[in-house]
Amino acid sequence: MKVRVRIERLLRNHRILFGGLAALLLIFTSFFYLSQRGRDLPAALVANRVLLFVLWYVNVILILVVVFVLLRNLIKLLVERRHRILGSTFKFKLVATYVGLSLIPVLALFFIATELLQGSIDRWFNTPLAPVLARGNAVAQAFYDRVESTSLRDAAIALRGIQGIDLERAEDRPRLTRRLQELLAELGLDVLAVYEGTEFVHAVLDSQSGIADLPEPGRDFLGETARIGKAVRMGVPAGAAGRLVLAGVSQGPQGGVTVVAGTLLDPLVAEQTDQLVRDFQAYRQLEVQKDDLRASHLLLFLMVTLLILLGSSWAGLYLAKRVTVPIQALAEGTRIITGGDLGYRVKVEADDELGVLVDSFNRMTAELASNKEELERSNEELMEANRLAAWNEAARRIAHEIKNPLTPIRLAAERMQVRKDQGDPGLGQAIDEGVEIIVREVEHLKEMVDEFSRYARMPRPRPAPVDLARLVGDTLGLYRDLKPGVEVESRIEEDAANAVLDAEQVRRALINLLDNAVEATDAPGRVTVSARRENNHLEIRVADTGRGLPPGSREKLFLPYYSTKGRGTGLGLAIVHRIVTDHHGTIRVEDNQPQGTVFTVELPAS
């Protein structure tokens, strides 16, 4: 069923090609038919020749197609191997292995078979049979020669014996008969006949010979005898066994007297002699056909060898295709799945181990897709939980931060209320102090709210060429002499002096980092800001010799509302992190040697 479908598909896909070949066949056959008809040959012969031509054409086309397809596949294989297409090496190795494995034994078999055939033929013709047959034939020929020469001699004697007898005269006929009878008996002949030219005159037969009728030598024989003086023929006598040798001797040219002497050979001797001659001739026929025999066997061996090589190449290609097609499909599937399309499935028709492999691959892909979905869902849940936790933490810290100023405000208000109720004369001073406390704490609340607001509404950075050395110098100027015993310094390398970044945002990030560094450093200490260009990055480091970070705090350091100081908004480093990431940079924190902390900011150089 599959084969039928494939053939139908082949015919459908190559309709033009097959149509062209059929049209060519029709045209060639028509030309061939017309050319044969033009020779006035018999109709049956023309039909046979046309049929042979069509078969020859179809055979040639089929052979060409097979050779073409095979060569095409082999060339394609070489091209694929050159371009390192997946599976081509395996395919090449498999085909080479198949051809190699079959080539060696097939060639060995070919040469051994040829050698054996050659040897057999040579041995057959080199056996002692050949000289035996040749000697037998030579003996037979010598025997024939002797019989012929004896017959010719007898015929010549008989010719001389009848001289003086007038063959024309009827009165001399009895004399002729008597003379011929005498010569027949004297020479031991079986037949003795007299002709004038080719005209029969008289003949006598040996009654004991068993020859029923006078043998007819034929006009050719008599003509040859008359022309060259003598002739010999051998034939089978009528009504008798054995072989009859007829020897004719003539007086002269046309019109002369010819005597034909016939000798009947013994049947057994004749049969054995003939058999010797026939055997030798049969041997010579084989010898003559030796080369043709050898050539036909050589052709047969060659055809078988080529067929085996063709078959092995084909089998190699077929098996390689069976293996490499699923492998290529799997590789393609891997590439697509690596690209993120977990819904892709490999579709290959295979019912062997490769089919199992493809099924496993598809199941694995399905599992991956399912796991990915599960993971994404878990991730979303986790993120939701994190967000919730962050909001809780933010709410807690906001509540705490708001609560901190509220307590002094409430205490200041209560104290003013108590002083007023007691009619305390220091009420005025208490009001002043209370108002001052309330105003200060409200101001603190306002700053905190402003900080939150700035973090929430931080604008996108607007990079512009900046003199980084000057920017760092100006910022450090705010911290000089801020804390006695803590030195603040900058080390800006020349290649890092000019940069492209949002100066205001970077200044704010530096301030936040310096705030923390100066606050964490006790006297005597040092805070150093350095900058350098590293490959395509601008590296800014803020290092201090302070107390360092508490263990386990680094992971949460850049989270909003996280603070190791127990006061403040906890947004300083979160703002730094946001500014850096908005500049497509990174920030990391490490321990400074021998003590303290170092923050390293890496920003793209341009």
Binding site: T114, Q118, R233, M234, R278, Q281, V288, D291, R294
Partner: protein
């Protein structure tokens, strides 16, 4: 090694072409019949003689064509005939039987006793009527072409190829009605 030598020998043998040719082609008109005489030389080599002596039927086929001569174009073939001369050696009778077939039909059989007579019979064609001209014979100069087919030889030891002589052209003649 013997195989290689045998293959080489067969290859070289297959390359050796018979050095045969048609000679002395003479054509004459006997009334309306075209009569041809010619001889084949160089064909009766040892392989052919051995084959005949072995008793295998051996033939030489003469392909004879009648053309209308055209000066500046290919000659136009008018008629074609084949004469096949088949020789069979009867070793017992010590004679060669020769059969002449014109277009596949037996026209003559002859028996000769010696090799010279056989060669002469097979290679010398004397006054053989080959074509009959008629009303439909075109005007103009006519020409007879003859070549001989000498059987097959094996090319590359196993590809049979037909061996034949070159075409031999006769003198040109006209048919006067």
């Amino acid at each position: 090694m013997r195989t290689v030598l045998a293959l080489l020998g067969l290859l070289l043998a297959s390359q050796a072409r018979a050095d045969a040719a048609i000679h002395g082609l003479q054509v004459s008109l006997d009334s309306n019949r075209v009569v041809a005489s010619f001889a084949l030389t160089g064909a009766f080599d040892d392989p052919l003689a051995r084959r005949i002596d072995s008793g295998l039927p051996t033939s030489i086929t003469y392909e004879v064509e009648l053309h209308k001569d055209r000066k500046r174009w290919y000659d136009n073939r008018i008629d074609r005939t084949t004469l096949e001369v088949v020789a069979v050696h009867d070793a017992v009778a010590r004679a060669y039987n020769i059969h002449f077939k014109l277009d596949g039909e037996l026209v003559e059989s002859r028996t000769v006793r010696d090799r010279e007579a056989l060669e002469a019979a097979m290679t010398r064609i004397e006054r053989m009527p080959v074509f009959t001209l008629g009303e439909d014979t075109p005007e103009g100069r006519l020409i007879v072409k003859v070549r001989a087919h000498l059987g097959t030889r094996n090319l590359l030891s196993f590809i049979p190829v037909a061996i034949h002589t070159e075409w031999k052209d006769s003198n040109k003649f006209r048919y006067i009605r």
